[in-house]
């Protein structure tokens, strides 16, 4: 506890440079030539917190909701957070009154929104002293589904781009010690919102990358290859000496399919209510395959590479008409 003394001649004093989110005790003593008086009663003062910082990479959205995550911005705990949401029109100007969600206990909040709108979201930290300044705003669009690749779930061999949408499996050898500790499946999960309904995203791949793209339950066994167990579903591309092979794997089983034009951009459509996971060749608007599944819980988009190469996720786009029933 730090004690500061300020000498003043008046009966008032302006105290500045206080730390945020901190409790202060203030008291006064009078001094004359014979000495110092006893201390006055102590006044308690709580400074408001610093504003939080929204983590853009940690946020995701879908047509009817958004998950906002932020850093507290304060070393010490605060009481709660307030999330403020304002709808924006197409010119970027505010339309309608701001809505606030108060008493948010942790550094994330799932907010319900309306489809095909644009919103501005800010967060304040709150303690008994009051609310902080607003955080820097985050723009949220509810057209399509937006998520980032979760760096925490990435296999050590994978590097994720700064924007969180591209993954790359490099050629370099991992140190032996690390290899034995790694999960076998060189994969990463996407941070899809746990919201029912329909979600759509696209994956850009190339002819030479052996990939697996699909979905998996959060607790899927990371030692098993994507599609090898009943907790994951994926489209797999295999390069054989003579041709390109495509599989649609779940629980180790795939239908026997031949595709004549290799997809460079794959559309993935997830429908929780219909219980389907569909894959499309986006450039040709061609349907490739549909899994009929009964999802027991929410799934994460999953991306794996079976040999060095890369792929990029494109999302935040409206599902094209041909992907809808």
């Amino acid at each position: 506890m730090l004690v500061c003394k300020v000498k003043v001649k008046e009966t008032h004093c302006r105290v500045t440079d206080l730390l945020p989110n901190a409790q202060y005790e203030l008291w006064v003593m009078a001094t004359n030539t014979t000495g110092i008086s006893p201390a006055s009663e102590k006044a308690l003062y709580m400074t408001v917190p610093s504003p939080p910082a929204i983590k853009e990479r940690g946020c995701s959205s879908c047509p009817e909701a958004a998950l906002i995550r932020w850093d507290s911005g304060n070393n010490n705990p605060v009481d709660s957070y307030t999330v403020e949401i304002t709808e924006m029109d197409t010119h970027g100007a505010q339309c309608g009154a701001a809505e606030a969600i108060v008493a948010v206990p942790s550094c994330q909040c799932l907010i319900q929104l309306q489809q095909d709108r644009r919103y501005m979201v800010t967060v304040r930290a709150v303690n008994i002293g009051g609310p902080s300044e607003k955080s820097h705003p985050l723009g949220v669009s509810t057209t399509g589904t937006l998520f980032h690749l979760l760096e925490d779930t990435a296999h050590p061999c994978l590097s994720i781009s700064e924007d969180g949408f591209t993954m790359f499996y490099g050629d370099e050898e991992l140190p032996l010690k690390l290899t034995s500790m790694c999960y076998r499946c060189v994969a990463v999960l996407g941070d899809l919102l746990p919201v029912r309904g329909q979600h759509y995203w696209e994956v850009a791949v190339d002819d030479y990358t052996e990939f697996r793209v699909g979905v998996a339950y959060e607790d899927t066994n990371r030692n098993a290859y994507l599609g090898a167990t009943n907790t994951s579903w994926c489209m797999r591309h295999i390069l054989t000496p003579t041709r390109h092979k495509y599989e649609f794997l779940h629980d180790g089983w795939s239908p026997d399919l031949r595709i004549t034009v290799n997809p460079m951009r794959i559309g993935v459509a997830l429908d929780y209510d219909g219980g389907t996971l569909s894959f499309y060749n986006v450039e040709l608007e061609q349907h490739l395959y549909t899994f009929h599944c009964c999802f027991q819980s929410y799934v994460h988009p999953c991306f794996a590479l079976d040999n060095p190469g890369g792929l990029t996720v494109h999302n935040g786009v409206e599902a094209p008409g041909y992907t809808r029933n």
Binding site: D256, L257, R258, I259, T260, V261, N281, L284, Q286, H287
Partner: protein, 294 residues
């Protein structure tokens, strides 16, 4: 018996209704007419979905395989519900001219009656009657468009086995005419299989260069038309697949080289029968509906 209840049906003496059964909310009808191309009486089946009572509907043409008539598809394929749900008219013609009295026409089950192979024959004694290609691509659509609530600009085609061959050939030879095409266990490369060689030798003669115009694999290799989206289902336990009559690998190779989009699905355990067709018909109707109702 004429269809007086349908507002779009003209009182055409050329078309006689043979039967009508209410089915899936619409009507499964069979008609008979005097065919100009085939020079004989021909029957064809038409399924009219509920939507046809009020609007023009797109048309799905189904070509049947060896030995079939217009009856097999309408009684066994189970297509009517999906057609009703998607507002699609289904037309299923017979597989060859009938009762022409041509010597040898009933000798084999894979040549002559019930085995028209969807070609326009050039050889005697077949060339006057065996013109199924022109019947399917010219005469029948004109008849359908002027007698039923059919949208002349939205048609697609499909078929089984010999009919699958017919559907692919009609599509590849008429770029842009069909909104989409699909097939069940098609004969993909008739020039290379016993069925095709027997039929083409009989209908088209010994000059094999004349056969190429009716071979989907050859036509695919030189296709230059609007983008296609071909769906093919093939039974894994199909005896004709194992006896090299169907040759899908040849078509897949040609389409891969020419970048013609195909999704070819091999269905384990399924044979060549209508039980196989029934099992995947709704997937095919859905595929067609995507393009017919776009």
């Amino acid at each position: 018996m004429l269809c007086l209840s349908c507002p779009f049906a003209k009182l055409s003496m050329a078309l006689t209704q043979v039967s009508s059964n209410k089915c899936a909310g619409g009507y499964q009808k069979v008609y008979e007419h005097e065919s100009v191309e085939l020079q004989c009486k021909m029957k064809f089946a038409v399924y009219l979905p509920p939507k046809a009572e009020t609007d023009k509907c797109p048309v799905f043409y189904w070509l049947s395989g060896l030995t079939c008539t217009e009856q097999n598809f309408i009684t066994k394929a189970g297509a009517q519900q999906a057609a009703a749900d998607n507002g699609i008219i289904i037309v299923a013609p017979d597989t060859s001219p009938r009762g022409c009295g041509i010597e040898g026409e009933d000798e084999s089950w894979d040549f002559g009656t019930g085995a028209g192979f969807y070609v326009d024959a050039t050889e005697e004694p077949w060339k006057n009657n065996y013109r199924m290609y022109s019947y399917v691509t010219e005469e029948l659509p004109k008849l359908i468009n002027s007698n039923f609530a059919a949208d002349p600009d939205r048609m697609s085609i499909s078929g089984h086995s010999m009919g699958g061959h017919g559907a692919l050939v009609c599509t590849l030879r008429n770029p842009g005419r069909y909104k989409t095409v699909s097939a069940f266990a098609p004969i993909c490369n008739p020039i290379g299989c016993p069925w095709g060689q027997k039929a083409f030798a009989g209908y088209l003669g010994a000059d094999k260069s004349t056969w190429e115009a009716y071979d989907a694999t050859v036509l695919a290799a030189s296709y230059d038309g609007p983008k296609l989206d071909i769906l093919i289902d093939q039974g894994g336990d199909d005896q004709f697949l194992s006896s090299s009559q169907l040759l899908p690998d040849h078509l897949i190779a040609a389409c891969s080289a020419k970048k013609i989009p195909v999704v070819f699905r091999r269905q384990p355990g399924y044979d060549h029968s209508y039980f196989f067709i029934y099992s995947f018909m709704s997937d095919h109707i859905k595929h067609h509906a995507k393009y017919l109702n776009a």
